[in-house]
Symmetry: C2
Amino acid sequence: MKRTSLNDIAAKLGVSKTLVSFVLNGKGKEFRINDEICKKVQETAKEMNYQPNRLAQGLRTGKTNTIGLIIADIANPFFGFLGREIEQEAAKSGYRVIFCSSDENPEKSKQQIAMLQQSQVDGYIISPPMYSGDQVLALVKNNIPLVLIDRFFPEIDSNYVGINNFEAAYKATSHLIRLGRKRIACISVNKDMINMQERTEGYKQALIDAGLPVDENLIKILTFSHDNKELVKAMKDLFGKKENRKADAILFSTSKLGIIGIEFISSSGLKIPEDIAVVSFDDPDAYKICVSPVTVVNQPLKEIGKTAVQVLLNKIKHPEAKSQQIILKTEFIIRKSCGS
Amino acid sequence: MKRTSLNDIAAKLGVSKTLVSFVLNGKGKEFRINDEICKKVQETAKEMNYQPNRLAQGLRTGKTNTIGLIIADIANPFFGFLGREIEQEAAKSGYRVIFCSSDENPEKSKQQIAMLQQSQVDGYIISPPMYSGDQVLALVKNNIPLVLIDRFFPEIDSNYVGINNFEAAYKATSHLIRLGRKRIACISVNKDMINMQERTEGYKQALIDAGLPVDENLIKILTFSHDNKELVKAMKDLFGKKENRKADAILFSTSKLGIIGIEFISSSGLKIPEDIAVVSFDDPDAYKICVSPVTVVNQPLKEIGKTAVQVLLNKIKHPEAKSQQIILKTEFIIRKSCGS
DNA sequence: TATTTTAGCTAAATCGTTTTAGTAACCAAA
DNA sequence: TTTGGTTACTAAAACGATTTAGCTAAAATA
C-alpha cells in the first residue's frame, strides 16, 4: 500500500538516502559514487518499484513539471484538438497538463488560475475569457510563464500564439463577393473578444473595399451560450421571410455557430449554396459530410498547440525571455457551400 | 515573486503557524482560538493573498484532491464530452483532473498511470486500451480507487460505468431489419475490446433472431488508427462495385468510423438511405447536419461522466466500498438515414 | 614523516503544510 | 495549599525529496 521512498531503498542497502538520490538522479559520477553501489541502487529501485513522489520533489525544488491549461470548453472539438496537441507536446518534455474549461466565464477562470497556482504549476496556457484581462495582467506582472492562445489582450504585453483573424475573415468574405453574393451576413459572438472583433472588421473591410454597403442588420453578434435560442432567432431574422430574405450569403465566425446555423438552414428547407452561400471559420468533421461540404478558414491547430508549449517551456527555462507574438498561417479550404 | 506561506502570516502577526493553520482550516473553534485573533488571521491571509501550497498539503496529508483521467483521445468529441463532464463534476467537490490521451496504446497508458501515481492522484478514471488489463489489475489489487468507463475487463472485478452494448447494437440492427434491409454490414474496430465485441455480438444476434444469415464478409473489424486507409478499403469492398453491392445497410460501431464512412459514401455518389441505410453509435454534431441526418444509439455521456466521478469519490472516501458496475440507458434517435 | 588530495560517503537543513503532544496562565474546588 | 480543569496557544515531528557542507580513510605528494 505505502509506496517505497528513497529512505526505504537506503535502509535496505544500508546507505544514506542522499546517495540514493544522487544515483537515481544520474549524478552518481558527479558525486563519485562507487559503480557497484550505483548498480545496486538502481536494481533495488526497480525491484521495489520506486516511483519518486513528485509532490515532495516539487516542494523541494519549486518545480512541478506541470502546466495549467485553461480553455473555453474541452467538449468543443476546436479546443479538444488544441488540448490534445498541447498534452502531447508537453509530454515530450516530461510535463503534465491540468485541464480546465472556463466556459468563457471570467469568474471560473479566476478560480481556476487560483487553483492552478496552488498546484504550483510551472506555467500557463490560456485561452482567456472576455474581461479576464486583469487576471492575465496579474500573471504577467509577476513574470509567471504564460502563453495566450486563440485570443489576447492588445493592452497586455504577453506571449501569444494565434492567427491573423482580420486577414482570414477578409479573405473569406472576398471569396463570397467574388462569387457574386451581394448581401453577405456575418454571425459572430462575444463582442468584446479581440479575435472575434478582428473577424468582424475583416468582414467589413472586405465589403468596403468591394464597394458594397456595410449593413448592420446583417451583422449579428451573439453572447456566448450553450443553448441555441439566440442563434436561431438571428437566423430567423436573416432568412425567415420566404420572399424577402435579407441575405444571400453568410460568414460564421466559429464552427459552433456554423453547425447550428446550417442545421437551421437545412431544416427550413433552404438550399446551400443556391439560396445561401456559407463560409465558416474552423473545420469540424461535420463540415466535411454535411449536405454541401462547407468552405472554411482552417486554423493550424496542431501547430498552435505545439508552438504554445514550446514558447511556454522556453519561458519557463529562461524567465528573462521577452514575450513573443506568433501568428500562424490559416488554410482556406474551398468546398461546395459557396457554389462556383 | 515568492508566495506567502503560513509562516509569513504567522510572523507578521507574531503567532505560531500552527495557529494560523488551525484558523484557515476552519478549526478555530475546535481549538478555541480567540475570536479576534481568528479574524486577524483571516484578514491578513486575504491581504497577503495567501494561497495554500497543495504540494505541501498533499505531502503531509497524503491526499491531493486530484484525479487522473486516461481516455483514448481528448480530440475525439466523444471523450471530449466525457472529459468535460468529469472535470465539472470533480470540480464541484474540489477535485482537479489531469488528462491523459492514451491513443489506445497500452504502452502509453502504462506510462501515464506511472506518471499519475507519481503525482499522487487520489484516484483514476480510465477508459482502458486493449491489453492493459494487467495495469488495471495492479491498481485493483492495491485497492487504489479506480473507475473504468466505456470498456472494462470481464475478468477483473472493478468499478465500471457504461452502457449495454449488446442490447444497443441489437436494437439498432433490428431497426434496419424491420425496415426491410437484408444485407446489413457492420464496421467496428479493436477486436479484443469488450465493448466492441458486445456490439458485434448484438448485431449478429439480431440477424439470427430475424432468421437472416450472418455473413462474415459483411463484418469488418478494423484496427485502431488515426488514418482512414483501412476503413476506406473496407468501404470499397462493401460498396465499391456498382451493380453488385454487397450490402444495403451498415451499422457503425463508433462515430469516428461513421463520419469517415459517410464521407466515403457521399463522395462515391451513393445515396443514404436509398442505396445504403445507416445506423451508428454516438451522436456527434456531424450526424445532425449531414445529407441524411443519421439514426443513432446515443450514449448518456453526461451521466456517464457524472456517475464515474461519484463512484470514484465514494471509493476514495470509503476504501472498503465494494465495486459497482453501473449500466446506463442509451437513447435510440431515429433520423432519416434509414428511410422509413 | 607530514601534508594535501581524492574517493566515497553522510548529516542535516529545507520546502510548506498538518497534527500530536504539550505548556503556561488562570480559576475553581477540595 | 494542592489538585484539577479550562483557555489559549506553541514546539516539534512528519511527509519525501534535494542539496549543501562536511567527514573519514586512503592515496599521493612534498
